[in-house]
Symmetry: C2
Subunit: 314 residues, 2 copies
Amino acid sequence: MTKDPVTIVEVGLRDGLQILDRVMPTADKLRWLEAEHRAGVNRFEAASFVPPRLLPQMADAAEVVAGARALPGVIIHTLAPNLKGAMAALAAGSDVLVLPLSASEAHSRANIRKTREESVEELARVCRARDERAREGGCQTRIDAGISTAFGCTIQGEVPEDEVVRLAEACLEAGADRVALADTVGYADPAQVRRLYRRVKEIAGDRLQSAHFHDTRGLGLANCLAVLDIGIREFDASLGGLGGCPHAPGASGNVATEDLAFMLEAMGFDTGIDLDRLIEAQRLLATLLPGQTLHGKIAAAGLPKHFHRSPVHA
Amino acid sequence: MTKDPVTIVEVGLRDGLQILDRVMPTADKLRWLEAEHRAGVNRFEAASFVPPRLLPQMADAAEVVAGARALPGVIIHTLAPNLKGAMAALAAGSDVLVLPLSASEAHSRANIRKTREESVEELARVCRARDERAREGGCQTRIDAGISTAFGCTIQGEVPEDEVVRLAEACLEAGADRVALADTVGYADPAQVRRLYRRVKEIAGDRLQSAHFHDTRGLGLANCLAVLDIGIREFDASLGGLGGCPHAPGASGNVATEDLAFMLEAMGFDTGIDLDRLIEAQRLLATLLPGQTLHGKIAAAGLPKHFHRSPVHA
């Protein structure tokens, strides 16, 4: 019996590192990438293309992308908040470019300094620029609209589901190849994620494939399970549960890559990941960030005694 | 629309405390009970009736049960490993008596110092003693067979599902009113729990109602969600995620009561619990156990901004 494949996108190099005060040297970022690649992870959200004065952590975005590209079979996701960043991300060679938009108007103004409508217009400009590059030949970058605060927001609280659905629709009309929903601040619960995923799936179909949950309030893996049950097969996660949102106070901790991979493999899905090697990568990360609290449980508790190693794709 | 009720049984006073080296004074146990009762929790696994020389933490079991009984509406679960303990538990006034049996033969010998067959015989003796007391008048104690290591064991590794099903069947034949399945060491995954709950449900029907999951490897709440989806409506949990099994190395952390209650309330279930007051109880527990690592996330992260307080039953 063939196992059902599930893809994990490691977003720690972007979502995890962006909240840290200290800048991780480029060489360390590449060691992290290589260690996880050795464990079988082959999709990385490797960097965001933002002005270095706003986020010094990402000043080496193009170098990190180039380094990641040197690893066999790696697919590179990057993030850019606007057209200028997007052009740099395309030039650097992104397989997937994520444009973040906030479903919460309050969070949108605070985080991206744009209204939601302005964000959609920027997304449309980015899609047109990509299409133009594609016609000139060469550019095959997929553009994902990453809808953040889709399940609530620390600034405005509740985010009406109708507004999330409308924003997803507007993103697809603006030319995005995909939409993704993110629980940026860890407010989501399993009933809510099933409800909203089903609604957005109705308008987006196969153009909704991935989930991005934070474990701030402990429900990260339960939320992954909730959408796994309704057919979602792509998840963002961060090694050691590193992450959060600098503009959403208290919002720390993506779902830990190693715990998610353990859950999926234990359930019989094929992640292509060797869990022992992934735990080794988590230990490397701990040495690269001394004093940093890492989340996730499997690295400390160890794999179950009878747990079988899964085959590595790489 | 009436909300679907879900019951949480606070097991921290038994499963949580039993792994600690220090003995919590009776007065502190009662303060903990009262604080959680104030939050709307009304089922407590309050103590285990074991020889005080083996577990000094439980030497005050009868006093704790008497103290709990003084709180209005409280339903008291206790645990006893054998007939002698069971008689003390019945005499103390237990509404529910849990007899633990290990699905893993290796864990059974190490933990209860009995084979599984001997455990079932002991259960039968306890059920007969209860029935006799019932005929003499008065005793209405329900007897639950608590099947531990039902999803794996740190000593023997995998526990065959067929053996768990057969043990559940034997417990019901021995006279147990209910069976419950416990992931004592945090090995379970959502696919496995759904599979095994469905199988045991086939033979037990309504006599299987509750779940006991540990969060040792981070899947505690995902496992709760997995069985919630197939109709389970009663969960063991421990305030602050305190707990584990002294005979299963590395097995620390029941599902945290406050995180589970948050998940259930967020999903629209009625737990009868006031989450703000439950978090206050968690803070009290932290002061009662200085230096003790508590698990769970919601107490640190805080409730979502728009989260509505649920009505308290008590």
